[in-house]
Symmetry: C3
């Protein structure tokens, strides 16, 4: 039994194990069927997400678990209970794992100090989204046959992105040549960075990469304040038929069509891995369940 | 594997098969138990409906499937994702079927062009509600022992009713004497009609029919604009103890008490099939699952 | 098959049976596994509650049942259907039980007159919360080895508390020395009482008891109108390190920290049974399912 909160907590071997296990599950449904029989998993999302929640739910049910969704809008929060008390009390019902998404960075770490029931982080604030990083690694390994020494550029609102930060830990484990690009208002301070390069312009950002990863402009979060308009973002930082790179394109989804990525590229580009990322997400989460619960 | 979008797409033999299969399931639970083992069904409702969603969910679970509800209010739509992208991305998670209700007429057809995962239409705009038509047919066949040549009058907001339109296709398959009645503002243009009669008055509408089907005044949709008041509708188009017909009464529910139907008739009339329709709905949906997935 | 609506309807032997069965289930998971195989349970909550709903859901799934949640916010109510019609129509789908929470006192009794499907009351208005009373009894029996002749004081908004009223019936079955304490505006009229004592002051309320049960100030319900402020309530009726009693402390949850109970007591007091109540809640509900459905 263990928590799954940040890529930072994992060794290179553990990430490799998860990636390879996910690909085994993808090849062979017998490898996961019944693995979570008689287990009960509670998802509690303090922020909405269809995609991530559904991916965790499908993965759990395919492995034979019961899955209980708690929508924070209906929860006891409305009765004045703290998020902490909600989780601690649900712990007393002895589920076999919690899937937690929370808007506060670090909240799953905080919770993990008070319960032995595995906490699987489905995203916390702007800090971590480790299951996304694993599914991305699965997709990269499936595409390139390796994780070591990849050349990866991430474009978008780096500062507010838990995906970018999760890959920062990945890049250390696997010696990636990682670079960031985006509007200056969305890029981290130089002090924050270590071996990561800030690209000078979009042309450089898109040149000589294995994977270009686009981030969502999160209209519902802070991104909106950091750019003049979506049109301007699309013009200077978006990918379209005129600048489409030679590398593979990834995006954690959901894509804002014609903002990060032109519609024609999203629908037709043969080096887009975006659908494959979603597909692999289910198997990545199966591997995570096995890692934490079995 | 096939989609289930409109009665229009079905042959007479296919409808008969579905109807008879539903009645077999009603007789014998062994006939459906375990049929959907290891299947995962996603329901995604862009319009609310307790009844229809629950009926699909009970049917799926009784057959052994996992069922995942996606409430559009929580979904990625709020993040600016199109309904199309939501479904295409969920497709990448490889569920075995989608149950889709959408407020736009034709939307399930549109979606079905982009995915091989069976799309089961749980109602689209004012166009189709094929599972309702099948469950109505099950109820009619159970009551009269035949579907051929039935005399059916549908009363209410015909123009905005996907139920009425689904039965229009039914009437062609089984040579029904189908007629419509309702306020003039709720009746289709003559050009729209083929062999369907518009009744001259309520007395005629209720005379010499096998089944009188009442439609809901949909307060939450457009109906409200087309009638002066609910009281007036009840007075001129509602069924009550003074005008109750000799035929069987059906209603897709939920009934507005004392609007389409007087409370005393709803609760006591021995030729009301309304509860039986709900009951048969579960078995009709089982038959549809088998038809599309197995 | 039977309803489960109020402790008032149960004999002493039935309560003892439920309590002992819950503790058996706690000891031995083989005693409940598969007991509800092929059963479908529908929960319909007309008032929100994470804790109670999740407890019922975990209990049902651990016993092998399918569990369908209906959130009244999405339900047909919005389409103008009465709560009565919603439940009667769901009955036609033949679930094996309903879990109902309703804001009207007595509503589950009313419903039970119209359906043979077991109705399990998850709380109605200010009248009954029988599954809470059973789980409390489980916790008391586990702690003291008996239910007979316990000394229990309940503190808080007695008038509006369905928990207090459920224990009133308990006290009659097991000859408890039951007393109440709280602000005068929250205490019942003397006429209402029988053998129950009203305590004169907090010191008396906390003296010589087996169990002190604190009730939630229900900010979302009426309590707010009956006290000048939460601070004043905490000062005159709350438990903190200065007045903590020698007896066990119980609370149906969720606790308003530093209102009914000081945070340091909630988190550290070794005679607090609050977490144990939540834990036992799952087993109590299993026993109730078995009692009503098997």
């Amino acid at each position: 039994m263990r928590h799954f909160i940040s890529i930072k907590d994992l060794s290179k071997e553990e990430v490799e194990f998860l990636v390879k296990r996910a690909l085994e599950f993808k090849q062979n449904s017998q490898a996961y069927k019944g693995k979570l029989k008689d287990k009960t998993i509670i998802s509690i999302f303090f922020e909405n997400s269809t995609r991530t929640r559904t991916s965790f739910e499908i993965a759990a049910k395919r492995m034979g678990a019961s899955f209980i969704n708690i929508d924070h809008n209906q929860s006891s929060i409305k009765k004045g209970e703290t998020d902490y008390d909600t989780i601690i009390n649900l712990s007393a019902m002895m589920p076999d794992a919690f899937i937690v998404r929370h808007y506060h960075s670090g909240y799953p770490y905080f919770l993990s100090r008070f319960t032995d029931i595995p906490i699987i982080n489905a995203g916390d604030g702007t800090a971590n989204h480790p299951s996304q990083a694993i599914l991305d690694a699965v997709t990269m390994f499936e595409t390139k046959g390796k994780l070591e020494g990849l050349k990866v550029c991430i474009i978008g609102d780096i500062t507010n992105s838990r995906v970018a930060k999760s890959h920062l830990w990945m890049s250390k484990l696997f010696n990636w040549e990682l670079s960031f690009y985006g509007p200056r208002t969305m890029l981290p301070d130089e002090r924050w960075l270590d071996n990561i390069k800030i690209e000078k312009n979009l042309k450089d950002a898109l040149s000589d990469k294995d994977f270009v990863m686009l981030l969502r402009i999160q209209l519902e979060r802070e991104s909106g304040n950091n750019i003049p308009s979506l049109k301007e973002y699309a013009k200077f930082f978006g990918i379209n038929s005129l600048n489409v790179p030679d590398s593979y394109i990834m995006h954690p989804g959901p894509v804002n069509r014609n903002v990060e990525l032109a519609s024609e590229i999203l629908d037709n580009f043969n080096k887009s891995l975006i659908t494959k990322q979603v597909e692999n997400g289910v198997f990545a989460r199966m591997a995570i369940y096995e890692f934490c619960l079995v």
